[in-house]
Amino acid sequence: MTALLETRGLSLSFGGIVAADNIDFSLHEGERLAVIGQNGAGKTTFINICTGLIKPDSGSVMFDGKVITARSPRDIVRRGMARSFQIPQLFMEHTVRQCLELSGVARQRKLSLFTNLGKANDGPGVDHILELVGLRERQHELCDSLPEGQRKLLDVAMSLMLRPRLLIMDEPTSGVSTEEKHDLMEILMEALEEQKTTSIFVEHDVDIVKRYASRVAAWISGAVAADGAPDTVLADPTIQREVLGI
């Protein structure tokens, strides 16, 4: 079976800092990969390269068997790889509902000058997602007025609206209180299950990783230091020392 996402020899440095160090990596359909790693290990950079925001110095990225290295984010999203952001990226002057509607219309590629956004026929999808992430009450508020936790939710919800084949989530649970983290992950996993979406999520909380990941990859200084089943990787002494700080 060919990999859904595959990178070969991906390298990138910012000035003197090596943010990606010869990364060979592959992901298959149906996996749920947790990415762990200390601050500055290069997790976000890896996502940025895979989704086309930054060009690597060398190496290649393949999605669904096709080379997508240094393609634009727009092109990559259209091929079915979406992402969410560590710092929520919303349309601050639009309402919660409009953000989701925009995602819905974008997925159907039905942007038009003649149909009102509200009437673009993705109504049920929007309502469903609103219900799922619990933002129905605030759907008509401006994104600007949401607290951080809910911004995070909306950010992920916008990517879910795209119904991608692969969704990469950059720390979906950061900024969310510890009790709510599990609820949030339940919701996300349920939605991903329903859409049959393969996923990667960056996560710092070991409990969450253990519970929801089918596979774990640990990043150290821009390189993948360990990759495999959660039990194995999390029990690795190097990983425990360097990444988990135990």
Binding site: F14, T44, N48, L53, I54, Q86, Q89
Partner: protein, 300 residues
């Protein structure tokens, strides 16, 4: 086309570039610190010119002293720079938290006001006070006669100002604070830099540079209403072509534009006025952030 025409064009271009550089330097310097493109900078140029001419008429005309004439230029520029620079800073301070575009529009409003104030003070009759240019005499190069004022004086003042400003920014405490604010306002403020005072200071220096450009230009052309409006678009072109906030870049681009313009005066006269804009478009086509801005990777 002979060598002498080429020389003529070159010297003209360098002299013009000197003026353009001074004005653009003021604009880009202010932009670097307060992040506002100051449309009223065009008025500073005009006011500097008029005020220098008035000073000249008042105490230097007929006195036959170069020192007095130069003093008139400097005093004219300085007074305008301090008063209008400070005034504009106070005005913009009230809009400091607003969108940069809105701030730009505020300076546009200030420009409209100043245009009329200028007419109220100096009227619509052309002003032309050129004593200093003749006092400085001329030099003959390859059989072509050049005014020393344009050949030496303007270019050396421009270069002098550039060197002085670079030195000041690098080696003085205030200069370093300015660099710090330019780099990251929040961090600089957190480290105890008084951003407000830095802004006033920057505004006064930047405004004085604009006014100095006008003052130095005043002996070479007659001053009429509208000179400010023409100058500001030109210096916008220099600043954008060089990259916003780029001081050394502004020097090089001013030279490029100045020389290209005067070459076209001699060889392609129809293109004289559009030259700066054509250069700007060509440069931004290849380097969208300006010639000297290093593109940074976006961080999300």
């Amino acid at each position: 086309m002979g060598v002498d025409t080429l020389l003529l064009a070159l010297i003209d271009g360098v002299s013009y570039a000197g003026l353009l550089f001074l004005v653009a330097l003021g604009l880009t310097f202010i932009f670097g610190v307060v992040r506002v493109l100051n449309v009223a900078h065009g008025s500073l140029y005009a006011f500097g010119g008029y005020s220098a001419a008035s000073m000249g008429i008042w105490f230097a005309q007929g006195a036959g002293s170069i020192t007095l004439s130069i003093l008139a230029l400097i005093l004219g520029a300085g007074i305008v720079g301090v008063i209008l620079g400070y005034g504009l800073m106070l005005l913009l301070h009230r809009f400091r938290d607003r969108d940069p575009i809105i701030q730009l529009l505020v300076t546009f409003g200030a420009f409209m006001v100043l245009e009329d104030v200028q007419v109220m003070i100096w009227g619509t009759q052309p002003y032309f006070v050129s004593d200093v240019m003749f006092q400085m005499g001329d030099t003959s190069l390859l059989g072509v006669v050049f005014m020393n004022y344009q050949l030496w004086f303007i270019p050396s003042v421009a270069l002098g100002v550039y060197v002085l400003l670079r030195w000041f920014l690098k080696h003085s405490l205030k200069g370093r604070q300015i660099i710090a604010v330019t780099h990251d306002r929040e961090v600089a403020t957190a480290l105890g830099v008084n951003a407000g005072r830095i802004a006033s200071f920057t505004f006064i220096i930047g405004a004085s540079l604009g006014a100095l450009g006008g003052a130095l230009a005043s002996p070479t052309t007659s001053l009429v209403p509208g000179v400010g409006a023409d100058m500001i678009v030109l210096s916008f072109a220099v600043v954008a072509t060089a990259g916003l906030g780029q001081i050394s870049g502004a020097l090089i681009v001013a030279l490029m534009i100045g020389i290209a313009r005067s070459l076209s005066v001699y060889f392609l006269p129809q293109f004289e006025v559009v030259m700066p804009y054509l250069i700007m478009m060509a440069v931004l086509l290849i380097r969208p952030q300006g010639l000297f801005t290093v593109a940074e990777a976006r961080r999300i």
